[in-house]
């Protein structure tokens, strides 16, 4: 309890110090790839971008330094929530198959140095939330927490957050607990993620809005409408404000917002339908895709 109160105090202090800051988009360019590209994922350094198709078919990587494209996988589902490992030297991605008409997901790794592929996890049911751990990853499958690393690793498992059937599951102190920050029986939690400092949880409650809570589920901030939110760093998040007519998406903009919700800057341009942002604080970059399949990369400055 003491820890929680201390963190809440720090959140208030840090959030309060944000009010004088401004966010500026210093540069913007289109990722020069020949195909339509969606759902970008920046690495930690901000010099590589994973991308896929609108239906998550296949996975490719664009290197912002060498300006080259690497094809990682043509497999269906490979583009769904891929990630770089903690050292930015590997990519973990899914291979989705159907067995007896049941969905199964395996995870492969792809080494950027030699393009070597390794099956890290055989096909699993109900695979969720791949997260970095040591030189591998943590993941839940069929409601069990699994770790997969290169070589044995005796490190204690870190705090890990995921969802099961749209409920928030927090792994902490070697056990799962269910968080229900809005304390409503019918809440459906989406886009749940842990902050870089592992102290806060960012999530969207369907039909209600996007929030930040602490590890006890106490709401720290309400950010309003901000879909597909991701952490930029411990002080800022990025998400999209999309609108539709019930049949198709009609508009969307990418917004960067301080964790207290007081600083809000539009990152995308007015004439774009901009969606699904990704962020790299270390690289000072935010990337997003447009509805028609272009990936825009922005370089931002926070003063």
């Amino acid at each position: 309890m003491k820890t929680s109160k201390t963190w809440l105090f720090l959140f208030v202090v840090v959030a309060g110090s944000l009010s004088a800051q401004t966010i500026t988009v210093m540069n913007r360019f289109k990722m020069p790839v020949a195909t339509n590209a969606f759902y970008p994922v920046l690495n930690q350094n901000g010099d590589k971008i994973l991308f896929t198709s609108d239906g998550y078919n296949g996975l490719s990587m664009y290197d912002l330094t060498t300006k080259s494209v690497t094809n990682i996988s043509d497999h269906p589902g490979a583009g769904y929530e891929p990630m770089f490992d903690a050292s930015d030297s590997k990519v973990f991605y899914r291979k989705t198959t159907y067995e007896n008409r049941r969905r199964m997901d395996a995870i492969e790794s792809f080494e950027l140095v030699n393009n070597k592929k390794v099956l890290m996890l055989p096909p699993q049911r109900d695979l969720k939330q791949v997260r970095n751990f040591h030189n591998g990853f943590l993941v839940t499958a069929d409601r069990k927490l699994l770790k997969s690393t290169f070589g044995k690793n005796a490190k204690a498992l870190p705090v890990y957050v995921t969802t099961q059937d749209l409920k928030i599951y927090l792994y902490k102190d070697e056990k799962f607990q269910i968080l229900n920050p809005l304390n409503e029986a019918e809440s459906r939690y989406l886009w749940v993620s842990l902050s870089p400092n592992a102290k806060m949880i960012l999530f969207t409650a369907a039909g209600k809005g996007t929030y930040i809570c602490d590890l006890n589920g106490k709401i720290l901030a309400s950010l309003g409408s901000l879909n597909a939110p991701v952490w930029y760093d411990d002080q800022y998040v990025v998400g999209m404000q999309d609108k539709d007519d019930g049949q198709v998406i009609t508009s969307s903009k990418v917004i960067m917002m301080s964790v207290n919700g007081k600083i809000k800057t539009q990152i995308s341009q007015a004439d774009e339908i901009a969606m699904y942002p990704t962020a790299s604080a270390k690289g000072g970059k935010i990337a997003y895709n447009t509805l028609d399949g272009k990936i825009l990369v922005t370089e931002i400055e926070i003063k």
């Binding site: 239906g55 989705t96 059937d165 749209l166 989406l190 879909n227 597909a228 999309d242 539709d244």
Partner: protein, 801 residues
């Protein structure tokens, strides 16, 4: 006892089957839309009004299906992610959140439940699965994963939904890739938003068309929605090889076997046109379970989850013969049976009221319908031939109020002042073959009027100088108009029969005082000078009691440029040039002369206005600066007539002598050019044009209020018009309006032919005489054509009584 043995066999059979097991399967159910807002597809069906949350809303219907499907799936061990469980505005989730719910839950399939709209004239199953039609070779911006899997399960669902035999399908089911459908039918580049970005197979199920109103009523029934959910469930069990559903269902509807459902909304041929029996009670004999049909015009019933076997369903409704049907239920199936119940009609039919029901000394409108109301619904095949009316009248018999009412509508109004006898022979019977015990008859007398009469119009038949710029059309009838259909039923056609658009803002209806009716309008564009046009009045233009014109009227006229600029102008009327002279007027009051912007030349015209209160009364407007003329001259004047039928005369003065020369009849509305040779003036004498005189020609109501405009008066030597007219200054038609006879003065019988034309140009009568008997001609406005030797003149003639 027999029923109980059957049931026992059912249970034994049921336990021999494997129960369905969906353990481990995860399904996302998305009940489409959310809330009671403008985008939530409210279909207005009685008794609910627009926006009533208790009425039909697709958002609510989708949710009811979704929640029932969730229960079935969970009972079979499946994990269900449902995107909403309530129906509020907040439940109307962004499409991206719905997709994210399916993806992040790791479901095996996403079902988005909807119903469709087909303009009320279609009802079929449309499955829009995530992907492409199997035959589609178009390259889309993005690929869709699992298109084949989505199509496979969508086909299973469509086939099951289509087995529904309570509804009436307009066509078979359709299974389409959302991208193909979106591109070809909606003009979208990349499919439906709720399927876009979906990482799992999925489909939008449009299970039926909710704007087909009988279907909207069915969708108000919870069991009907359960049945759709059950078909979804059955599809999932089959697709995931989860075993058969060990029970079956009995479903159907209860309707009257013959009585029609008398509502105005569209109903396909077949059962949807029969009367649903609200509140009918269905009993499953073997179990004693009962189901009461709701009150919402659907007759739907469902007995759910029955063990296979033989059952008997009994349908009952007060006033109907009960009916029992043996039905064999099999596992994994719904057996449909639609009941058609027959009414109990155990007394003879009789007429309980009728119309027109008036004393024979009173009279009724000649346009009235004859109505007979019965104590039973009647059999058309015996009742229609039993009906007769004397004198015979052609007409149409229809039945209303579920056959309880017979209506006879005559093809044309009844004759005037005629006693009719209506009879229904006792052979008329109801569907249970009981006939009336005695003949029924009554009489009525019609009024002395059986047509709506057009009293006057502008243009009139044969009018050949209708100013082509912004002509104002005016029609005055003898009764106030029913304006329901006159926008299209009174129209102007060009030479090719093309309807010319009315200027909607110019239309003024029934502006004349009661009991008369009128319609005034202009067109959206000018006419073409020299071209012929037709003003049409359809036969179904009617007054407020439904009396129609009956015989359509076609008034032909020709447009002209009436501006004459080739002769010297002796008066331009830019200032007030003539003033009212009360001393030279009779029974004229409130007379004025003003300048007016209703003009043809310069900035102004002169407007003469007056109330002339008696027939033959007149108003004289005296010239401020008289023009000098003689009998060798011609005077031409641009006149804006007022459709009064009055006469515009010129006053000439030479010393003590005062003479009046007729310029024109004011039987037009708008600008025309009229000229007159002054040959009736004494030769070798200079006259002054000292004034204008407007003479009231009849006691017709609309002759009293004078409003005439004049512009540019010309003085010249030769008539401009080449039309050969009788020097008609001496011709008088009297009386006008006429009652029994009309006479022409100033001509001799030997050289005179009188022809009476209807206003649409049909010749009605012709005599070689100066007098015509018009007693057999109906009240209205006519054209009297007078042929004298080789010359001709036409005049409007009003017949009134």
């Amino acid at each position: 006892m027999k029923y109980k043995i059957s049931l026992l066999i059912c249970f034994i059979f049921a336990f021999g089957l494997n129960a369905q097991n969906l353990t481990g399967i995860k399904i996302c159910i998305n009940p489409g839309h959310g809330g009671y807002d403008s985008d939530d597809r409210n279909v207005v069906i009685a008794p609910y009004t627009s926006g009533d949350p208790n009425g039909f809303w697709e958002s609510k219907s989708n949710l009811d299906k979704g929640l029932q499907l969730r229960s079935m799936l969970e009972a079979a061990g499946a994990t269900v992610i449902i995107t909403r469980t309530t129906n509020t505005t907040a439940d109307d989730l962004p499409l991206t959140q719905i997709v994210a719910m399916a993806n992040q839950s790791g479901v095996d399939f996403m079902l988005s439940i909807h119903s469709n709209a087909g303009n009320g004239v279609a009802n079929y199953v449309l499955m829009l699965y995530a992907g492409l039609d199997a035959t589609d070779t178009y390259t889309y911006p993005t690929a869709t994963p699992w298109s084949d899997k989505s199509r496979e399960i969508s086909t299973e669902i469509a086939q099951n939904l289509y087995t529904n035999q309570i509804t009436t399908w307009s066509s078979t089911y359709s299974i389409r890739g959302d991208k193909t459908f979106g591109r070809t039918a909606m003009g979208w580049s990349d499919g439906y938003g709720v399927l876009r970005g979906l990482a799992v197979p999925g489909v939008i199920s449009e299970g039926m068309m909710h704007d087909y109103i009988p279907e909207a009523y069915r969708l108000m029934n919870m069991e009907y929605k359960w049945l759709e959910a059950w078909n979804f469930f059955k599809s999932f069990c089959a697709y995931y090889n989860a075993g058969q559903i060990i029970t079956g269902n009995i479903a159907g509807s209860v309707r009257d076997i013959r009585l029609p459902l008398e509502t105005s909304y569209n109903k396909f041929a077949g059962r949807d046109r029969l009367l649903p029996l609200n509140g009918a009670i269905l009993t499953l004999v073997e179990t004693g379970e009962t189901y009461t049909a709701d009150q919402l015009q659907n007759g739907v019933f469902v007995f759910k989850n029955l063990s296979p076997g033989v059952y008997h369903v009994k349908a009952e409704k007060d006033g109907y013969y009960p009916q029992t049907q043996e039905i064999t239920v099999t596992a994994n199936n719904t057996v449909y049976f639609n009941f058609g119940l027959n009414r109990i009609r155990n007394t003879p039919p009789q007429v309980i009221s009728y119309s027109p029901d008036v004393a024979i000394t009173d009279s009724v409108e000649a346009s009235t319908d004859i109505v007979l109301n019965f104590n039973w619904d009647m059999d058309e095949t015996t009742t229609t031939p039993a009906f007769s009316i004397t004198p015979h009248v052609e007409g149409k018999i229809t039945y209303e109020d579920t056959q309880y009412r017979l209506r006879f509508t005559p093809d044309k109004p009844f004759e005037k002042s005629t006693i009719y006898t209506v009879k229904l022979a006792k052979s008329a019977s109801h569907p249970d073959n009981l006939s009336m015990t005695e003949d029924f008859s009554f009489q009525f007398l019609t009024k002395n009027r059986n047509r709506l009469a057009l009293l006057t119009s502008y243009p009139y038949q044969g009018n050949n100088q209708v100013y082509n710029v912004a002509p104002n059309f005016r029609l005055i009838f003898d009764r106030k108009l029913n304006t329901t259909n006159i926008q299209s039923a009174i129209r102007v056609l060009d030479e090719n029969g093309v309807v010319l658009a009315k200027n909607a803002r110019s239309v003024v209806n029934n502006s004349v005082s009661a009991p008369y009716g009128s319609t005034y309008f202009s067109l959206s564009s000018n006419l073409v000078a020299g071209k012929e046009y037709t003003l049409v009045v359809d036969g179904d233009v009617a007054d407020e009691v439904g009396m129609e014109v009956v015989e359509p009227i076609a008034i032909k006229f020709r447009a002209a440029n009436v501006l004459v600029t080739t002769q010297p102008v002796v008066e331009s009327f830019e200032t007030v040039s003539y003033v009212f002279d009360e001393s030279q007027s009779v029974d004229a009051t409130t007379a004025t002369t003003t300048t007016s912007s209703t003009r043809l030349f310069g900035s102004f015209s002169n407007k003469f206005a007056a109330a002339i209160n008696t027939q033959a009364g007149f108003a004289t407007f005296k010239a401020n600066s008289p023009v000098i003329v003689n009998n060798q001259k011609v005077i031409g004047l641009h006149v804006y007539g007022d459709l009064t039928g009055n006469e515009l005369q010129l006053q000439f003065t030479a010393g003590a002598e005062v003479k009046y020369v007729k310029l024109c009849d004011l039987n037009f509305r708008g600008w025309e050019f009229h000229e007159v040779e002054l040959t009736s003036l004494a030769p070798l004498t200079d006259y002054q044009l000292t004034g204008y005189r407007i003479v009231r020609k009849s006691n017709w109501l609309f002759s009293a209020n004078v409003e005439v405009y004049v512009d540019n008066m010309l003085l010249y030597d030769e008539m401009i018009s080449s039309v050969s007219n009788i020097a008609d200054v001496s011709i008088k038609i009297y009386p006008n309006p006429a009652v029994n006879f009309v006479r022409v003065s100033g001509l001799d019988t030997e050289n005179t032919v009188l022809q009476l034309y209807s206003i649409n140009g049909t010749i009605l009568k012709e005599v070689q005489a100066i007098e015509m008997n018009i007693q057999d001609i109906a009240v209205g406005t006519y054209i009297l054509r007078i042929q004298y030797k080789n010359q001709m003149i036409t005049r409007p003639l009003i017949i009134s009584r």
